[in-house]
Symmetry: C2
Subunit: 524 residues, 2 copies
């Protein structure tokens, strides 16, 4: 049987590429955290060089001819395909290196450079356009980006839809067709649920916007992260304008959060969310660093880890049974008149809003659905770029019952398209669904998980995630992983039941749908 | 005339090398400031890869054949040597690229790797040995390092002494012979001056070791740096165990300091010292970044900038006329009973000590002299590594009148030799001498410089340094620069007169030496 040892010459060649990418990640992290403002122009050049050198090495004849020893270079199929010819990790490593190589090889260097330049320009114009709420200003740049992404899809190749090629960048194997049916299932139950919930009286959450000392907020965030098992010997927490997680190696993971004095949730849920990402990156197998087996699987799986901690754990009653007394001790004044139930209701308040990043668990996926439909239509050529604002506003009315006053609160709100990140949004929803499906399995696998959590002991869950998900990196596809961990493919069902139960109980609006037990509360 | 435009193909090839080196510098900076402890092993690998890729590119056939268009590759002499064939910057650029190429080319990769590995090991053992004050523990590693550095000298080549080849790494063009005569001049006047000063009553400096709030110390350091013209839009100040300066581009310079609650001088003079280095790096020509013309000239010239600000400015009366009232406002309690004169005397207290990094301006170069003599003798084979402690202690007795109790306060105190940095120490003394020679010239060139400083206006000096020194990078050799700026080669005379005047006045011990005006006080 051929094993990883067989592939050592290939692994050897990958090492420099991974080191260059890790260095580039540090440059990006520094750019968002500590870089002085004047350093930006030089930083962009340094980053571009590291990325180009990594890319050149990946598509080098060296790698191509090594892959050719074991694979058909045209299709990526193993020359010895029979079961047992390869160990599981070796077969996975070959499959994933070929994937990276093949994708890189299909994109001409001149195209990649042009895309990079146009996106960098588009991002600057977008910043300006959003500030002025002026879509017309951004239109020419967005047209260019969309045209380039359609060209990218042609380079990459696809079966049914050019959008599939773009999706595959962020979520290997996912297609527009599977997403469409998935979003249809979501819509069918989310929209009525939202209607019932918004008809009920909303809980008070004004006390979340009292004055909370920023330094203490960070301190409390660190307390929660430590309880989660985030290892500060192999990680940091810093502040940045937009929270993010990055990693240079499982022994050096960086998460960031933001802190507002008059908005308790930002730092708190920022820490829980990024902590979930951080645990994934710290949980990758260090012995596999330098190969795809040491990489995170996909954006959707990554997001499942952040959402699991942020929502399934961090917005649950058991969690706050343990942590609310500590939070109240940290902020005795602003929380003096707030008991656990009031707090729990407030952090789970549902309120349709125009802005995705402020959305609650229930409405969040509606934001994603409209973006998915719009970007798919753009790439499939069914929607012209100039018609985007109208299409956007109509979808917002339909799904959320709201009307944006201005494009800065509508079509201009997200940075993604200006960066060329078309096909990225759906991974947020996939993350939400995987999160609940994994968490539900964890409650089955771990004895009295919610009792553990209610006692402030989060390590059983962390260890379960380490064992079941983190340490495998890209050994399995997302579909294989879901089946291995939960016994079935990804399904919207656990997520929908979770929401119906949670909000049914919270808002006193049991689901009228037949067969589903509206009484069960997932987090009790 | 051939100009920089002629050399564009070469400059193009250098760009990636500079970008890799800048990235490596950020990785090193992060390692000393923010990296979590667990990240060290991976970081070393990432750094080694970046350095190897940069090295491979420098010694590539591409660069060699480009240089061959214009130079004799064996000697580095221009094929068109006549005056006027090349513009000054183009000739300088060729000279310096050839220097870098030639030095890199002469060191076999296997040797560089072995040296790196042995030094990394030696540094770990040194840390342990210093802790235990056990020279015998370190002896085998130091033997290996010294043998490798002698081998390095053979690879690099030299005329008179193998030590010259090592010196040339840090201070191009400097030789053991010139250093010997320079140190002899220093010793001839420093040792008697020290004797007179230590015979006089010492000023009280105990108040410097009262309690000073660390956050306020940093705040005051930033105030001083801002006054110096250190640009926080293109630079930062952070904390690290050992203060240092690094730069990724003139628009992104990082300095660090350390803060002790009960030791005012550490943070204060740390900021002044590193601020001087930082101004140099911010003052390099950004248009020349990516070529040697955008690099700092040498370690000696770099140190001249830090010492000029730390000592010539930061330990002078005029400076404290302006800044002492602000310092006292920042620390009203611990400085309540301290007037300007007491403060000035305290920060200039002379006290022979065993530890170099704690040495005052007067004794500092004696520490360097003994290191120079010892390392030269080691490399020239006149001193065996096992005889080092005895040689060290004897020199300390002779120059400083002290006897180390243990090797941790003697021969084991510095990290340099464990790192293979033999030939580095003399640049500290060169920096001290250049500093005074430059500063003296500045007082001639800038109308009423000391009046400006006494009014808290430091920008005239900063601009003079920018114009005269910083912006030229490696366009001139250190010797050329000294002659251009001060009208003469480096001389110990300005430095010695400065010390004799300053300490003669402070300690009431006029120099008995004929002809030198003991009454003039340099900093009034």
């Amino acid at each position: 049987m051929k094993t990883l040892a067989t592939l050592e010459p290939l692994i050897e060649k990958l090492r420099d590429i991974y080191h260059l990418n890790s260095a580039a990640s540090l440059l990006s992290w520094d750019q968002e955290t500590y870089m002085p403002p004047g350093g930006g122009v030089a930083r962009a050049e340094h980053l571009a060089t590291l990325q180009r050198l990594a890319h050149d090495r990946l598509v080098s004849p060296d790698i191509e001819s090594l892959l050719g020893r074991w694979l058909d270079p045209a299709t990526g199929r193993p020359l010895e395909p029979e079961e047992g010819a390869w160990s599981e990790p070796a077969r996975a490593l070959l499959r994933e290196v070929w994937r990276d190589f093949n994708r890189a090889k299909r994109l001409p260097s001149a195209f990649v450079e042009r895309l990079g330049r146009e996106c960098s320009l588009a991002q600057q114009v977008w910043t300006e356009a959003r500030k002025k709420s002026d879509f017309a200003l951004f239109l020419p740049n967005l047209r260019t980006v969309v045209a380039l992404k359609r060209e990218e899809a042609e380079h990459l190749g696809y079966q049914d839809s050019p959008y599939d090629a773009l999706l595959d960048t962020y979520e290997p194997g996912t297609t527009a067709a599977t997403l469409r049916s998935l979003f249809e299932s979501l819509r069918a139950r989310l929209v009525p649920l939202l209607r019932r919930v918004t008809a009920a009286p909303a809980p008070d959450d004004t006390f979340l916007y009292r004055t909370y000392d920023p330094a203490r907020q960070v301190e409390f965030g660190k307390l929660v992260l430590t309880a989660m098992g985030y290892d500060f010997d192999r990680g940091r927490l810093d502040l940045s304008a937009h929270p993010f997680t990055t990693s240079f190696h499982p022994t050096d993971v960086r998460i960031t959060t933001r802190v507002y004095e008059k908005e308790l949730p930002a730092c708190l849920f920022g820490c829980l969310h990024e902590g979930g990402h951080g645990l994934y990156d710290q949980g990758l197998d260090p012995a596999r660093y330098g190969t795809p087996l040491g990489d995170a699987l996909s954006l959707g799986i990554h997001e499942s880890q952040s959402r699991l901690w942020e929502n399934c754990v961090g917005r649950s009653r058991p969690f706050w049974r343990a942590f609310y007394p500590m939070l109240r001790q940290t902020f005795p004044e602003p929380l003096a008149d707030v008991d656990l139930e009031r707090f729990y209701a407030a952090i789970n308040r549902v309120k349709p809003s125009l802005i995705r990043v402020e959305a609650d668990e229930l409405t969040y996926n509606l934001h994603i659905m409209l973006r998915f439909e719009i970007e798919r239509d753009l790439i499939e050529g069914r929607l012209a770029v100039e018609d985007l604002p109208a299409a956007w506003n109509e979808a917002v009315r339909e799904y959320l019952g709201l009307t944006p006053d201005r494009d800065s609160e509508g079509v201009l709100q997200d940075v993604h398209w200006s960066l060329g990140a078309i096909g990225y949004f759906p991974t947020y929803t996939l993350g939400n669904l995987y999160a609940v499906q994994f968490y539900e399995q964890a409650t089955r696998d771990i004895p009295d998980l919610e009792g553990e959590i209610a006692a402030g002991r989060l390590t059983a869950l962390k260890t379960w995630l380490n064992q079941k998900i983190h340490r495998w990196g890209r050994t399995f596809t997302a579909d294989q992983l879901a089946r291995r961990v939960t016994g079935r493919a990804l399904s919207p069902e656990p997520f929908l039941s979770y929401l119906e139960n949670k909000y049914g109980e919270l808002y006193g609006v049991p689901a009228p749908v037949d067969g589903r037990p509206a009484g069960r509360v997932a987090d009790q």
